[in-house]
């Protein structure tokens, strides 16, 4: 005989889950047929006793509800949704509402930001990244671009590598915000991407613009001595080529880099890099970070937090700077004793500079947008600095000979040019919004707010509506008339105009975003209660006339006991149905108001205000991911909630037949 497993609650839940998602067929296959105990009507003393067959109304409703496949799925989905939006935010430790990142604006959904092409993986010569794309160079001189190459709505794509570059043997590449530069083995210079600010070529549009530094003739004519190039760097809308002998060629947008003038034509430069707004260099004295601006980057310290910054001269105390690398706002210096020093401000969320083992010292540092990656003499890699995208959490790597870092990614390479490991930002599941924030994270955080507003609004509606409805129904007489008139006044307040007036009023009062949120909940609740009051009152009036109440009264049961023990349980089912439907409706009202800009406001996300950009037709088609995912999730959630409400109403209605 087959041994029956004991039916416990977990097994039962699993069984429901299987039934909900795979259907009855699989449930029976995996769990065996459900035993249906056919209870027979027993005759006692010739009288049929069918009391065994009778189930309580609650049980009956539950059973009938469980028979509806869609409804069960909906319950599961809504529960999962609730779990996700209320639990997930606790795991999104790096998320905060007002996060913005200029270089990550409007990126489509992708997870390819760190995906090095297969052909490149084993013979990497160099990699450079900026913003949303990376450019790599193989040892045989071929250029590869990965990540998101589209530049805004310009129609340009840095992935469209020009034919001549594909045919030429390239020696150096560098990536800027919206352009890529490359230098061939023969000294020829190439550039592609956006040239709006003279990033790589002098043309009639850039000619004579005082805000642009033209590309030097040596570079344009392809007369560069490739063997003596020390470094090729590209910044926001500028580029630089540094030669062995200290000669610097620098060009690009001077509005982005106001201190560029002090670098043009210099021939005593040892190292050069770009922050977001400044060019930083190292001259042959090796005692300071050259910026051409007084007081900029002249305080140094050894750690990000903890140590106090001291004047550069005192800090160095005779040591020399060997190398400088710049992120968006700060600069890291590698000193001749193998230690690092930092200068500039750091934002929140940083990984501290690593402490090295005895005998280990750093030999190279590369900088991304906010983080630094360093290579030690033992072939270990370390990352530190900005960690918003977990880009400063380096894996354990052995035998690295070279490192590359850019944007939010780092790559470790061995001596043969083989990719050992890469870490950092992979991409965005739902893309990014117009401020560069991850939409997937905002969907979760926004869901929490939208669902909270909906739920609290409904709870307020129920508390006010049910108590007023109960009072009106029970007390009757003038109380009834008065309360119903009040309800009528409230239901004739036009919702949207009223909300608009209130929120523009509230805009004048200085309120924290949380207070504003509470106000929205309260307003939605206070304007929505009459519906519950009408329903409760009607139900109470019906219940008072029903036989069981009469019977209870005849038996001498107290009025309050009748109210709470006999009538309320019968009303609760109806309230439950309306609660569910009202919850969906409140969520819709909140999203509509937020969409119009009168509900939840930026920086707090809500499923409504995340969609507000889509009201512009051009933005809606160009940046489709900014509304498609959010609205799909919103619609899906509301459908599920409405399905639950509908099914509840169906199964509670004694008139509706059981057949589907």
């Amino acid at each position: 005989m087959e041994k029956k497993k004991k039916e416990n609650i977990f097994r039962k839940l699993l069984r429901w889950f299987v039934r909900g998602f795979f259907g009855l067929k699989y449930e029976e296959k995996w769990f065996g047929k459900r035993e249906k105990v056919q209870k027979e009507i027993v005759y006692k003393n010739g009288v049929p006793d069918d009391s065994e067959l009778i189930v309580s109304p609650g049980r009956q409703i539950f059973n009938r509800f469980m028979e509806r496949k869609f409804a069960v799925i909906s319950v599961v989905v809504v529960l999962i949704m609730f779990a996700v939006v209320f639990i997930m935010p606790h795991f999104m430790t790096k998320y905060y509402d007002a996060f913005t990142e200029t270089t990550q604006k409007d990126l489509p959904p992708t997870l390819s930001l760190m995906r090095v092409p297969k052909e490149l993986k084993n013979n990497i010569k160099m990699i450079d990244s900026y913003g949303s794309f990376s450019v790599g160079l193989s040892k045989d001189g071929k250029v590869y671009v990965w990540g998101i190459g589209k530049i805004g709505a310009t129609g340009l794509n840095v992935k469209d590598i020009p034919e001549e570059v594909q045919n030429a043997k390239i020696a150096y590449v560098a990536a800027g915000q919206d352009h890529v530069i490359a230098i061939g083995e023969d000294g020829k210079f190439y550039g592609w991407g956006s040239n709006r600010f003279g990033q790589f070529a002098n043309d009639e549009k850039t000619e004579g613009n005082p805000n642009l530094e033209p590309v030097p003739d040596v570079v344009v004519n392809g007369e560069l001595d490739v063997a003596h190039i020390k470094k090729v760097a590209a910044g926001f809308q500028a580029s630089a080529i540094l030669m062995d002998d200290g000669t610097l060629y620098i060009w690009g947008n001077k509005q982005a880099y106001a201190n560029m003038d002090s670098f043009v034509g210099r021939d005593n430069i040892l190292d050069i890099d770009f922050t977001l707004n400044n060019v930083v260099g190292l001259d042959t004295r090796q005692t300071s970070v050259v910026t051409g601006k007084k007081g900029l980057y002249d305080m140094a310290r050894t750690t990000i937090n903890g140590t106090k910054a001291v004047k550069m001269k005192d800090f160095l105390n005779g040591r020399k700077i060997v190398e400088i690398r710049a992120t968006t706002i700060n600069v890291c210096m590698l000193l001749d004793d193998g230690t690092v020093a930092l200068t500039g401000d750091f934002q929140l969320d940083n990984v501290e500079v690593p402490t090295l083992a005895e005998g280990e010292y750093l030999i190279d540092i590369e900088a991304g947008a906010y983080h630094y990656t360093a290579l030690s003499n033992l072939g270990h890699v370390y990352s530190f600095g900005g960690d918003h995208y977990y880009q400063a959490e380096a894996p354990a790597v052995n035998g690295a000979k070279k490192i590359f870092a850019g944007a939010f990614q780092s790559y470790a390479i061995d001596e043969n040019g083989k990719l050992l490991d890469n870490w950092g930002l992979k991409g965005y599941l739902f893309g990014t919004d117009d401020r560069g924030a991850n939409i997937a994270e905002r969907v979760v955080a926004g869901g929490r707010i939208t669902m909270t507003v909906g739920a609290i609004a409904v709870i307020i509606e129920i508390i006010i509506g049910v108590s007023i409805g109960l009072m009106a129904g029970f007390l009757g007489g003038w109380v009834d008339i008065f309360l119903m008139r009040v309800a009528e006044v409230f239901s004739s307040i036009p919702l949207y105009p009223f909300m608009l007036i209130l929120s523009s009023l509230l805009a004048q009062v200085s309120m924290t975003t949380d207070q504003r949120l509470y106000m929205i909940m309260v307003i939605l609740g206070v304007l929505g209660w009459p519906g519950f009051a009408y329903i409760t009152r009607a139900q109470v009036l019906v219940a008072r006339e029903s036989e069981y109440v009469t019977a209870a009264q005849a038996m001498g049961v107290k009025e309050t006991r009748i109210a709470f023990k006999h009538i309320l349980p019968n009303i609760i089912s109806v309230i439950l149905v309306n609660m569910t439907l009202s919850f969906a409706a409140s969520m819709q009202t909140e999203t509509s108001l937020s969409f119009l800009g009168f509900g939840v406001n930026y920086p707090q996300p809500s499923w409504g205000n995340m969609l507000s950009r889509a009201s512009n037709a051009t933005a809606a088609i160009n940046f489709w991911w900014q509304w498609v995912f959010t609205s799909a999730i919103l619609i899906f959630t509301t459908i599920c909630i409405n399905t639950i409400g509908d099914t509840l109403r169906d199964v509670m209605d004694p008139k509706s037949t059981n057949d589907k």
């Binding site: 006044v489 036009p494 523009s504 509304w627 619609i635």
Partner: protein, 346 residues
């Protein structure tokens, strides 16, 4: 019946005053002091004044303007009555909504009464077309679903309307705009006519029609689902009445049973939606009008709140309240026409 209407009217007037009073109090909370602004503007045009003279002159002007605008008291009730036109101003004249003075729009530089009609007409135009289209589609659909309850067609419609009902209207509009404007380029994205055009006559009519078509379609689609569901539900309730069984037992044709007996009963819960919908057209569709830049009541109100054009807001609120209450009255009276039981009991 006459007594009932009179009672309703009295009640309506009471609620109207109550609501406008509440709204007026809210309006008073808005940080606008027109008298102060005007006095300051006037003092700035005056030159050759010492600081002291300026101060006294300013107080004088401020008082003058306060009296002119009727804000020379802090008593909210007096302010409200002045706004209504039931309490005299400082110089003894009456000027309020009962005298036909609804205020002045600083955005349009016109009395609000002159601005509103054109917007109301626009809203009403697309509202009526939409209402007719929606009812024309949803009522037959709802009846068919109810009659063929649980058929494949009904279940498909149930699923479809569930999606439509659960989708906030603005997402429907976004989808339509993206599809018809950005992908197919059939309709213009916004506005009431081609910018810079000076069409007249037939050309103009075609141009306006071309601009109005998509908003109308959007608005129609936005309310199809919910009304179909309501129609189906009330029809199902009606079809399960005892009188329908009796009618069938009498041997009446199915057509007579459905359209004459059942529909008459199903109409009762539908009345508030149909009548309310017609009155709602005047109030305009705020989200739709904002998205399409359609010059209707909704956009007018939204812009007024954005630019703090207080007189306009207040006038529109009065209109909204009035329409809402009047619609309730008409709904109640229509119940009497549709449902003989209501007529008798009152």
């Amino acid at each position: 019946m006459g007594r009932y209407i009179a009672k309703r009217l009295l009640y309506m007037i009471f609620v109207f005053f109550l609501l406008t009073f509440i709204l007026f109090l809210l309006y008073q909370m808005m940080p606008a002091n027109r008298a102060y602004t005007d006095a300051r503007n006037e003092i700035q045009t005056m030159k050759n004044l010492t600081e002291e003279e300026k101060a006294t002159k300013f107080d004088e002007l401020y008082l003058k303007y306060k009296r002119m605008y009727g804000t020379d008291t802090d008593n909210k009730l007096v302010l409200y009555l002045r706004w209504l036109g039931l309490y005299p101003f400082y110089d003894g004249h009456f000027s309020g909504i009962f005298e036909g003075d609804f205020g002045f729009s600083y955005d349009y530089n016109l009395p609000v009464v002159k601005v509103v009609p054109s917007h109301m007409r626009n809203s009403f135009l697309i509202g009526i077309i939409t209402e007719v289209a929606v009812l024309g589609v949803t009522i037959p659909l709802g009846i068919k679903c109810a009659v063929k309850k649980n058929s494949r067609f009904d279940r498909f419609m149930q699923f479809f309307t569930l999606i439509g009902f659960s989708t906030p209207s603005f997402i429907i509009y976004i989808v339509f705009i993206v599809f018809f404007c950005s992908i197919l380029h059939w309709f213009p994205v916004s506005g009431m006519k081609t910018p810079g055009s000076t069409y007249t006559g037939w050309r103009n009519a075609v141009d306006v029609l071309w601009h109005v078509t998509l908003p109308t379609i959007c608005l129609t689609f936005g309310s199809l689902a919910s009304i179909t569901r309501i129609c189906r539900a009330s029809m199902i309730d009606a079809l399960s009445l005892d009188c329908i069984r009796t009618a069938r037992a009498k041997g009446l044709t199915e057509k007579t049973v459905v359209y004459s007996h059942a529909w008459r009963n199903a109409l009762i819960p539908m009345v508030s939606i149909i009548v309310g919908g017609f009155f709602g057209t005047i109030s305009g569709a705020m989200i739709l009008e904002t998205m399409f830049g359609f010059k209707g009541m909704g956009l007018l109100f939204l812009n007024a709140t954005r630019t703090a054009d207080y007189d306009m807001i207040m006038f529109l609120e009065v209109i909204y309240t009035f329409i809402g209450l009047f619609a309730n009255l008409v709904i109640d009276l229509t119940y009497g026409i549709v449902d003989p039981r209501v007529r008798i009991s009152k």
